[in-house]
Amino acid sequence: MSDKPRKFKGGVHPSDSKALSASCAIQDAPLLDKYVVIMHQNIGAPPQLLVKKGDVVKKGQLLAKAGGFVSVPLHAPTSGTVSAIDKCPGPTGISVPAIHIDADGEDEWGSPFEPIANWQNCPAGELRQRVWDAGIVGMGGAGFPAHVKLSPPEGKEIDTLILNGAECEPYLTADHRLMLEQAEDVVLGAAILARILGLESAVIGIEENKPDAIAKLEEVAGKYHVRVQPLPVNYPQGAEKQLIYAITGREVPVGKLPMDVKCVVQNVASAVAVADAVVKGIPSIERVTTVTGRPVKTPGNWRFRIGTPIAKALELAGGITEQPAKLLLGGPMMGIAQSSLGVTVMKNTSGILLISSDEVSLYSSEPCIRCGRCVEVCPMSILPATISQAVENKRFDWAQELNVQACIECGSCSYVCPSHRPLNQHFKWAKVEIASKLRRRND
């Protein structure tokens, strides 16, 4: 493995605006009187509800159990009473079922499991089970159950574990602060993950614009054969395919998974969650989230309980100085725009971002002038302009032929397009249509 990272083709350099919150230490959010835990927070099957209205729950107690292998359990963020099981606005704009908990203010522990102090000698299977029991999903974005990634199927060998500390999205600093303030936990988590996978070592990839975190991690990394790999600043460095390429030089084939090139990628926050679950016996009930944006009065990084309403989170950050144009969950390049304040913090909410109206360029799609910029920045080397025109004419078959499925929806192409074309939306739409066509054919 070479020390010099490879440069992937394409990518963009948006102004990162991380200074707003990069120097703000992580604060623990105070206990609130009401939490709304959205039921389905993971990719895969929804969990199965175990409580009903009126039940009294303890902090960490199981609220719902995994609904299958690709599914994770859900735990109570604090002690209190289940006041309702009802709908609440979901992150994608459609109402989703959620468990409403009235906190009793005691915050009394009712952990479902014990810490495993001697994890070095614990069998990998047990550790993996702990990761599952703790309800850990990928905290870097998609919310994919971590234990699934840690269970490579028979015959698939894994030789590299990569921790993703790139945090290439502008504005977000949660991972940065976490690596700086809990470097030991990150490294510990990496070591545990490596042990689960039967590996000796792990690599942490970090963009060079976080020199303090790199320095800090390098200080403590030696303990567990963890290597820190600084990466050039180039969005989307944190996308797993690009990350794997930068660190190992392997290209994940289209339509394949990291494990097909013998890699597992986990976000650094996921690693910390794993460390917490194993060593301290804490399930996944909180996460570090950046609350930021120009309209936010005091941007910063908070450790929120899962289920914290966004409105409360914004209140903690001092409220707003101006009416924002957009409220996003996640970063400005990939985050999801919200139409209400009713959404709550989920396990994969890495940022709460307000964008002021002068930063937003409203959709005013003009025809593609074929300038080719999108083609040059696309890290997946597909042809955004052509695909987008195909989709515009509902030629989804054509889009499929042009490999729209390879698109990772990083948004680089839309970012540079001088015609402000909704390229990314076209691709998302095409993928949905193609998937539904495939489904129809399989029926």
Binding site: G93, I94, I336, S339, L362, Y363, P422, H426, K428, W429
Partner: protein, 278 residues
């Protein structure tokens, strides 16, 4: 005139002709293909809209099916009664004309009646649902970006104030719109039924009222006015017309629906209802 010259011409060309005729005959014998000219004829009699409303891949596929008696002429929704009769009499078979069906968009929440966010993106319903579910307050309502109207080859769907409105007299029942709507709002109903509930949201009444002025709140006034579930059926928090036994148009007047979710199709198409604010 030189007779000889003419004779030479005739003979030489005649020989070529005989040769060709024989060759073609041999070829035709060797590669005989059975074709059925009735198919062509039926296709001629069909309207040629190629809309796929019959459930086949265009008019010629349908013609084939009709001749093979795998489909009845009446299955073509575009054919007028006369057309169907012509085809049937040509083939000497049953017309098999079904009941005329028209599309119904089960929503009345236009811009002035529903809460919506400022959606900024591709103006196509199927595309809008991938962004925030379409950014409409009501998760079940019409998004109003007109995918169905674009899919309709007969221009029977009008987009009015962010709501798809079917003009029943223009609708031939080809069902192209049904599969297009990402919210599954469009159903086919008998053209004879005039009264429909223009709402599709299974939410509780209170929740619906928060986002929409014309939602069906399941107050059952119409059910009572029509005589207890004979003409109108209750399904959770939503009431539906019983299309087996549809009510007459005066039911709308009689029941005084508090939200105007209950409408007469023709009047709805003519834009004669406004939401009731509360």
């Amino acid at each position: 005139m030189e007779l000889k010259f003419i004779i030479i011409s005739i003979i030489s060309t005649g020989i070529i002709g005989v040769l060709l005729g024989v060759i073609i005959g041999v070829v035709a014998k060797a590669f005989a293909v059975e074709i059925d000219e009735r198919i062509e004829k039926v296709e001629e009699l069909l309207p040629g809209a190629n809309c796929g409303g019959c459930g086949f891949a265009g008019c010629s596929a349908f013609a084939k099916a009709v001749v093979a008696e795998e489909a009845a002429p009446g299955q073509c929704p575009v054919c007028s009664g006369d057309d169907v009769a012509n085809i049937a009499s040509y083939l000497g078979i049953e017309a098999g004309q079904g009941e005329k069906m028209v599309a119904l968009v089960r929503c009345s929440g236009d811009i002035s009646n529903t809460v919506r966010s400022l959606y900024n993106g591709i103006r196509d319903c199927r595309s809008a649902v991938v962004v925030a579910g379409g950014a409409k307050g009501c998760d079940y309502g019409c998004l109003g970006f007109g995918s169905c109207a674009n899919a309709c080859p007969f221009g029977a769907i009008e987009m009015r104030d962010g709501l798809a409105v079917v003009h029943p007299e223009l609708c031939v029942g080809c069902e192209n719109c049904v599969a297009t709507c990402p919210k599954n709002l469009i159903v086919m109903v008998p053209a004879a039924a005039e009264v429909h509930v223009y709402c599709n949201s299974p939410e509780k009444g209170a929740a619906k009222r928060q986002v929409c002025k014309t939602a069906c709140i399941a107050c059952r006034k119409c059910v009572k006015a029509s005589g207890e579930e004979e003409h109108m059926l209750v399904d959770g928090f939503l009431v539906k017309t019983n299309y087996e036994n549809p009510p007459s148009a005066d039911l709308v007047e009689a029941s005084a629906c508090p939200t105007t979710a209950l409408r007469v199709a023709g009047k709805h198409a003519a834009n004669e209802y406004q939401g009731v604010s509360k």
